[in-house]
Symmetry: C2
Subunit: 292 residues, 2 copies
């Protein structure tokens, strides 16, 4: 059993990116510049955005944080997006989701210029992914693809079962695994809440990606020997025995599933840390070969 160590892999990728930024600078190319828009004071969102900004600094990127109160109007937010679209120094930017309920998230995402859409959530980015055109891939599925690549996990001709069809993980994951590429070329089954006999399907899988948000959903008897298991779940579960009063649980019953696996991601330290590496790679791509 091999652990797909997302923490170490993400760190390695960030070091490579830092080296690339240094090389860019020496060649007279532009320092990549990521902007993040944070609306309101949600604790989790603030934590995510802060860690993105810190990662930018570690890699030698410029970063800009645009923070506004939760009562901002949709029009004002769209104006911020427009300004970032037209600011030539900003290579890519993200609008941290979720947004306050009075704002239409899709309208905001659609307003982001596709060439700066480093979250990969814009319809044109999603479409390019499906059509196998160069684009920004959404962070979590892209992070998983990088893990599979760096650990040389065999994918061609393998049966991959994706559990969950969300727009940000399950659905793009199924698309990326089935595309003609390496990693890729899997036979992919996309399963979801309406799927019958899920256990029968997962038992035939060479690769299982679970993205449900249901702690310890995937049990040992749903997994065949030698399977690759990718756990996207991150749920806080009350646990009085820990200093914080909660533990982070994945969608996989790790202790019983791991011994059967050829490869498995732990939680925490598996898929989670890879998302930041993806965002940084997308921002580097957005900066392309622009001069300083």
């Amino acid at each position: 059993m091999n652990i797909l160590d997302g923490k170490a892999t993400s760190k390695a990728i960030q070091q490579e990116i830092a080296a690339e930024v240094a090389e860019r600078t020496s060649k007279g190319l532009k320092t990549p510049h990521l902007a993040a828009v944070l609306i309101g004071a949600d604790g989790a969102s603030q934590t995510y955005v802060n860690s993105k900004v810190k990662a930018c600094e570690r890699c030698g990127f410029k970063s800009t944080l645009v923070q506004r109160p939760a009562d901002i109007s949709e029009e004002e937010l769209l104006q911020i997006v427009d300004d970032l679209n037209n600011n030539d120094d900003i290579d890519g930017f993200i609008v941290q989701l979720p947004l306050p309920k009075h704002i239409n998230e899709q309208s905001v995402v659609n307003a982001i210029r596709q060439s700066k859409d480093v979250d990969g959530f814009h319809p044109a980015s999603v479409g390019k992914m499906v059509l196998n055109l160069p684009t920004f891939l959404p962070a979590t599925p892209y992070g998983i693809m990088q893990l599979l690549e760096r650990y040389d996990v065999p994918t061609q001709g393998k049966h991959a079962v994706v559990i969950g069809r969300s727009h940000i993980v399950g659905s793009p994951m199924s698309i990326l695994l089935s595309k003609n590429g390496a990693p890729g070329n899997c036979t992919v089954t996309l399963t979801h809440s309406r799927t019958k006999n899920l256990e029968e399907i997962t038992k035939t899988a060479d690769i299982i990606v679970v993205a449900l948000g249901v702690p310890e959903f995937l049990k040992a008897d749903m997994v065949k020997d030698g399977a690759v298991v990718i756990d996207v779940g991150i749920t806080r579960v009350e646990d009085a025995s820990t200093p914080k009063g909660y533990a982070i649980k994945g969608d996989v019953a790790y202790d019983e599933v791991a011994p059967k696996c050829s490869f498995i991601t732990p939680v925490p330290g598996g898929v989670g840390p890879m998302t930041i590496a993806s965002l940084l790679k997308n921002t580097l791509l957005a900066a392309a070969d622009k001069p300083a």
Copy 2:
């Protein structure tokens, strides 16, 4: 065994559209107007475009055919696309593919304004489909969804196996069948040239969509009793016994497969005629409630 009669269904849809056009006119709304761009003199392309133009006329649409020789430059073609984008009377338009080799097809498709992309091939259209946002669906998969809907073929929770991952059929078909909707909510397995043990997979399928272009590929022993079989193949096979010297063959060995099926599409007369109905529905959607 029930035949999914695409010819009759397409005709019925076209009659409904004609009635809707008449109603639009009586309400002072605009007559839908489809333009088709045909480059070169390829026989098959000419036939397709002509049948699209004729269908427009049958439904009371306006149609415009823009025809240019095969030696047109990419720049000139992009200018035509730009003119159509900016022509307010044209609600939607298509550029018939394939294009001559010196022209980058993707550049031309990308230049079409998404709000007029009635073929549904633009990356933003594809992305909206994945994100389940209102958009123009690609003709063949949309036609199949309409057939399933009109014949009340049960799809929810069914296992659908799609054979072939092309951008215009297999890949969007897998996306539409798995989305949360009716028809939809299938557990979908997307298979392709790298898939191992295809036969084992198809034997578990409640619904099979074959889009390979290999005549009579799907045999009876690959299909379970009661399956729904959708045949997207249209291949000309030499046949001296026919007046034209060829026969049209689907991807399904129809004579042996049909008796096992709950529903099956014939070839010809199944999926093929539905594509035009899809194009007309998209054009009607593009015209929306624009005044005359």
